[in-house]
């Protein structure tokens, strides 16, 4: 028999109260872990979708392009694509051209953003093209085939196979026009993109405005997001000799998405803090009640020779055990919830439209969680810490008991 044993037995002295407190702690931990993992899963999928369609995990731009989006700020990648492709952790390298212009059909005209891509690598990576039938995709770098956003197609009153003309400014300052044929249609769910997207082969796009061999963006897809730490220094080393260009992270390249996620995480964390504070008050109440109930008994324990410090330690150990049990069972429940949310997810299709946009990325209406074990461990230790903090006041109170006064107490 020792203090640990005594603390454990004391914990179960009022079984119902301890179970209620434990339930509050465990369910809070379960909800916090489950909802964090759900956010983590949703954001991971949004980041993945965002980086695939947008900047990549890392991206190379001409200096100042990111701030101005000036189409004149292009650069010649030369052997850079091949060299970057050899870095361990880089899955693919996507050179892209972005050119503003005007698309005209026989009945309408609309402003567009012409995107020149390498058909083979782009099809493998870009999530917008997932549902596009293979025979509707671009067959070459320099063909006249074009993929249009669904709203642009509608506004131009075009159909698959129809011809239309794109007009834009040549590097020389002259206006140039080129005829393309509608070869495929994509629906991204993001209005801004669906209204302006016009995707063609990169070489054709470059030739149109006289920027042969040059690109605006070199997007890097990594094997996974954590590879960023090892790839970034190697990329910077490769770019050292090129003062005209520099590498950016996806957070720098897509600040809207990054800030939207950060804001949402901050509000979630605020709710988690409130939840933890509420359960901490519950723990304080349980421990304090338990101290007050044992006022006389503590007097006896002090009378028979226990020091005030030992009594304080007893209360702390009781809180520690309460915290540890909550940690284990709460994490178990949190894992079960996460497992369900990973496997089944939450189908929001009845509540939100299928093309809900968040931070410039389409929000998948079937929300699925992703495991974040490190965070789960971290938050469970926070819970343990809070249980220990909750024990401070009751333990101080217990340590101040005068044995003679306590034994007069009934």
């Amino acid at each position: 028999m020792d203090l640990l044993n005594l603390a454990w037995k004391n914990l179960w002295r009022n079984r119902r109260r301890t179970l209620i407190t434990l339930s509050a702690l465990c369910f809070s931990l379960m909800l916090i872990q489950g909802s964090h993992n759900l956010s983590h899963g949703v954001y991971s999928s949004m980041i993945d979708s965002g980086v695939r369609a947008g900047s990549g995990h890392l991206v190379v731009y001409q200096q100042d392009y990111l701030a101005t989006r000036d189409e004149k700020l292009s650069f010649a990648p030369r052997d850079l694509s091949a060299e970057i492709g050899r870095i361990a952790g880089v899955q693919s390298v996507l050179p892209r051209i972005y050119l503003p212009g005007l698309a005209q059909s026989s009945r309408e005209s609309r402003g567009i953003l012409l995107t020149g891509v390498d058909p083979v690598v782009e099809k493998a990576v870009n999530p917008f093209l997932k549902r596009l039938p293979a025979d509707e995709w671009l067959s070459s770098d320099d063909g006249r085939e074009a993929i249009l956003g669904s709203l642009l197609l509608k506004e131009l009153k075009l159909k698959l196979g129809n011809k239309f003309v794109v007009t834009m400014q040549h590097r020389s300052g002259e206006l140039v026009s080129e005829m393309f044929r509608v070869h495929g249609v994509v629906q991204t769910g993001i209005k801004g993109i669906d209204k302006t997207l016009l995707m063609v082969g990169r070489e054709r796009a470059a030739a149109l405005v006289g920027m042969d061999g040059e690109i605006h963006e070199l997007a890097l897809m990594l094997t996974d997001q954590t590879a960023d730490n090892s790839v970034r220094p190697q990329l910077n080393a490769l770019l050292q000799g090129r003062s005209d260009i520099r590498g950016y992270s996806w957070e720098e390249a897509m600040p809207n998405l990054y800030n939207a996620i950060r804001l949402d995480y901050a509000s979630s964390n605020f709710i988690f803090i409130i939840m933890l504070l509420i359960v901490t008050i519950g723990v304080i109440n349980t421990l304090l009640m338990s101290v007050m109930e044992r006022f006389r008994e503590f007097g006896v324990i002090l009378a028979v020779g226990a020091s005030a410090m030992r009594l304080r330690l007893l209360i702390i150990i009781e809180a520690l055990l309460l915290g540890l049990v909550s940690m284990v069972f709460g994490t178990l429940l949190g894992s079960l919830l996460t497992w369900y949310l990973v496997a089944k997810g939450i189908d929001m299709r009845n509540f939100v439209s299928e093309s809900l946009e968040f931070g410039g990325v389409v929000f998948d209406p079937i929300m699925r969680a992703a495991w974040d074990p490190l965070w789960m461990v971290k938050i469970s230790f926070y819970l343990l810490l809070l249980a220990l903090l909750a024990a401070i006041y009751p333990s101080i109170k217990a340590g101040k008991i005068s044995p003679a006064a306590a034994m007069r107490h009934y």
């Binding site: 028999m1 020792d2 005594l6 037995k9 004391n10 179960w12 002295r13 006389r296 008994e297 006896v300 324990i301 002090l302 009378a303 028979v304 020779g305 226990a306 020091s307 005030a308 410090m309 030992r310 005068s402 044995p403 003679a404 034994m407």
Partner: protein
């Protein structure tokens, strides 16, 4: 050197704006091996005196000496150690820890002393045999009779071989037969093992067993008699 010495001790409690004198200018010497009863009606200061002797309280005036040490000069931490190693307590309502078994209750002070589990278990087992508690080791206090609980309390008090055992109205909650048996046990421990007992009681049965009877009235010493 006396085991316990009270030198013109007074204890005054403040209740709101009123001062209550529980003990006034009380002096007493207790030697090792005594079997002494502090007798007197309720409110005469018996429990206050036991609390002062047991280092649970400090006198408002005067000095309490234990084995040649003035306890008023001992820091609070050390007072706990004195209570643990020098003093055994037996209370009127037994005051066993309800979540612990009888054996664990008896072992409690030994556990506080840091004694090895096996050694303390064996020590307590011997005390249980001596006190007729064999077979009750694993029972919770709620499963024991009043007499059995008080025997466990005696085992707890005796287990650490204290210099003095202070018993505050130990038979107050027991019937006369159980009280008689319990007093016989304590008397035997006093005679066979030389354990020093100081009781507080107004029970004539306890007073009749005392070898020295110190009578108190309103916090004053009325008489101090040795009974042959």
């Amino acid at each position: 050197m006396a085991l316990i010495e009270l030198k013109t001790v007074s204890k005054i409690y403040t209740l709101g704006s009123q001062e209550v004198i529980a003990v006034k200018d009380f002096s007493l010497q207790l030697e090792k091996g005594e079997f002494c009863v502090l007798a007197g009606p309720s409110g005469s200061g018996k429990t206050t005196l036991l609390n002062l002797i047991g280092c649970l309280d400090q006198p408002s005036a005067g000095e309490v000496w234990l084995e040649g040490r003035n306890v008023a000069t001992v820091p609070a931490k050390e007072l706990a150690a004195i209570r643990l190693n020098k003093i055994g307590f037996i209370f009127q309502s037994y005051n066993l820890i309800p979540v612990l078994t009888a054996a664990e209750n008896a072992e409690f002070t030994l556990m506080l002393q840091g004694m090895d589990k096996k050694v303390r278990r064996e020590k307590v087992r011997r005390w249980f045999v001596d006190l007729g508690l064999e077979g009750l080791e694993e029972r919770k206090p709620s499963d024991l009779s009043g007499g059995q609980q008080q025997r466990v309390a005696i085992a707890r008090a005796m287990a650490s071989d204290p210099a003095v055992i202070l018993a505050d109205e130990p038979t107050a909650n027991l019937d006369s037969q159980t009280s008689e048996e319990l007093l016989a046990v304590m008397q035997r421990l006093n005679e066979e093992r030389g354990a020093t007992f100081v009781f507080s009681s107004h029970d004539p049965l306890v007073i009749a067993h005392g070898k020295r009877v110190v009578r108190l009235v309103d916090g004053h010493l009325e008489s101090d008699q040795c009974v042959s």
